[in-house]
């Protein structure tokens, strides 16, 4: 109930959130004022150890930033751990642009505090504050472009390796 009143009547401000957001590539280059706008629209969630944050195959809807704790990204059904993420890391940013199903499951490894930024909030921000929205979209495009470049390099390296006679 406190959460409800907190959301309606108080402007939520959490220590250190701005510092975390400034380090996220998606929010790179945003001014302090812009970051304050983002901070206001974030959702704050807490997860217990072993709690599922999202499941593989369900539609993606937004990105998560780890404020505190660690998260495992697991591939189903093998349950192979693809990545382990720590405080300040982020995941699921592709879902800001695309509704396609999540490619892996995210599970809280320890007790986690998460900052969640969703597609609907981004679209709303683009309509309300287009100048901030455009900056975020640019950063997102840059992040995805870099990932694509890295993936291409890896494919290239793999191809080279497979062509090399043993």
């Amino acid at each position: 109930m406190n959460n409800l009143w907190g959301n309606i009547f108080k402007r939520q401000k959490r220590e250190g959130v701005q510092d975390i957001l400034k380090k996220i590539p998606v929010f790179e280059g945003l001014s302090n004022n812009d970051i304050s706008h983002i901070e206001r629209i974030l959702h704050y969630r807490e997860y217990k150890p072993e709690e599922i944050i999202f499941s593989q195959g369900t539609p993606g809807f937004g990105m998560y930033i780890i404020e505190d704790g660690s998260v495992s990204i697991v591939s189903e059904p093998s349950m192979e751990i693809i990545a382990e993420l720590q405080s300040g890391d982020f995941f699921g940013e592709l879902a800001l642009l695309d509704d396609s199903p999540r490619s892996a499951t995210a599970v809280a490894k320890t007790s986690c505090r998460m900052l969640c930024f969703f597609q609907s909030d981004l679209l709303d921000l683009i309509r309300r504050k287009p100048q901030i929205g455009v900056k975020i979209l640019l950063c997102l495009a840059r992040t995805i472009g870099e990932r694509l470049k890295r993936a291409n390099e890896e494919i290239h390296a793999l191809n080279k390796r497979s062509e090399t006679p043993v």
Binding site: L4, G6, N7, F61, S120
Partner: protein, 349 residues
């Protein structure tokens, strides 16, 4: 393990509990019908005004200031309507009633009575006393109008509540949503957020579409009637616009009122013919050029459902309920459909 009989018994018990709950909700809603009406009108206004608030925000105005500007605009529009349109409206209604007693109308009704008694004698129709019945009907129509305007008057007492609630829905709507989502368990968090977002888009589009469509039809009808020189064109035009909220039946009721009034006014079948042509043209423009662009096809309702919804709306919330029932039913339909679609996507059902 439960036997099939026990299973059947449990299912029936659930159905009965659900019916009792529905009856309780319906009676509670009718008990607080005034408050429900005010809340529905405020929510409709907030949905319709939200894009303007967004536009103001995108120009660098804060959400609170945008809500204040819109609040002042609603108050001003209300005052202007009360000062200029309401007397015009009342004037039109009074004039329609007075017109009923004119020699011209009496002659017209006698003519129709004569025609029916002579030409339809083979059906056993005689001594129909049409004039007496018409006067009685108009008398009761006057009563009906007064009753519902009194209903509106009682609503006007609470009218300051509508801009007030609309203001807070506009200003804090986003926080209300966020507050609601914060209470949802982690398991259903993304699902709820997506559901609310989809509902917001669909319901906003539907309501805005209906509102814009009703306004365009109202303005076109008023202009057409004014060009044709039909008296009380403002009253009929506004009524036709409002009636357009009700699919299928609304346009017919609007046209019928225009025909009736123009028939009683000058009794010329030529004018009636032009009025019918005008309404058909407005309906055609609406169907071809307005509805496809402003009203989404996503909230299509079967005519029978529309009729049932209007009856239920009228039963519980009076004349205003009849107008509000269709948008409310559209809202419920979107909620149910989106819930099912999302539950399937999240493999919850």
């Amino acid at each position: 393990m439960e036997s099939p009989e026990e299973n059947k018994g449990t299912r029936w018990f659930r159905v009965i509990v659900l019916l009792i709950l529905l009856a309780a909700v319906a009676s509670l809603l009718s008990f607080i019908s005034d408050l429900v009406k005010i809340l529905i009108i405020s929510a409709l206004l907030a949905f319709v005004l939200d894009p303007i608030a967004l536009l103001l925000e995108s120009r660098g105005i804060s959400r609170t200031l945008a809500a204040v500007i819109l609040f002042c605009t609603i108050i001003s529009a209300g005052v202007i309507a009360a000062l200029f349109l309401v007397p015009l409206f009342f004037g039109d209604i009074d004039a329609i009633q007075l017109n009923m007693d004119s020699a011209h109308t009496t002659a017209l009704i006698s003519k129709i009575e004569h025609l029916i008694e002579n030409d339809l004698a083979f059906l056993g129709i005689k001594d129909i006393h049409l004039m007496e019945k018409a006067q009685k009907a108009i008398g009761s129509m006057g009563g009906w109008v007064v009753n519902h305007l009194l209903d509106l008057a009682s609503l006007m007492l609470n009218l300051f509540l509508i801009p007030f609630i609309t203001f807070f829905l506009l200003k804090d709507g986003r926080n209300f949503k966020k507050a609601f989502v914060s209470m949802v368990p982690n398991k259903y968090f993304e699902f709820t957020l997506r559901l609310i977002s989809n509902l917001d888009t669909q319901v906003s589009n539907f309501l805005r579409g209906q509102f814009v469509d009703a306004m365009i039809v109202g303005v076109l009808s008023t202009i057409a009637l004014w060009i044709l020189g039909v008296k009380y064109f403002l009253f009929i035009g506004v009524f036709a616009g409002l009636a357009n909220f009700i699919p299928y039946f609304g346009p017919i009721v609007g046209a019928a009122l225009a025909v009736l009034i123009s028939l009683l006014n000058n009794g010329s079948f030529e004018t009636v013919f032009y009025v019918l042509i005008a309404f058909a043209a407005v309906k055609l423009i609406d169907d071809v050029a307005v509805q496809p662009y402003v009203v989404g096809k996503s909230v299509h309702m079967h005519p029978m459902i529309v009729l049932l919804v209007i009856i239920v709306g009228g039963k519980f919330f009076g004349i205003l309920g009849m107008f509000l029932s269709v948008p409310a039913a559209g809202f419920i339909k979107v909620v149910l459909r989106e819930s099912i679609v999302n539950l399937r996507k999240y493999k919850a059902i």
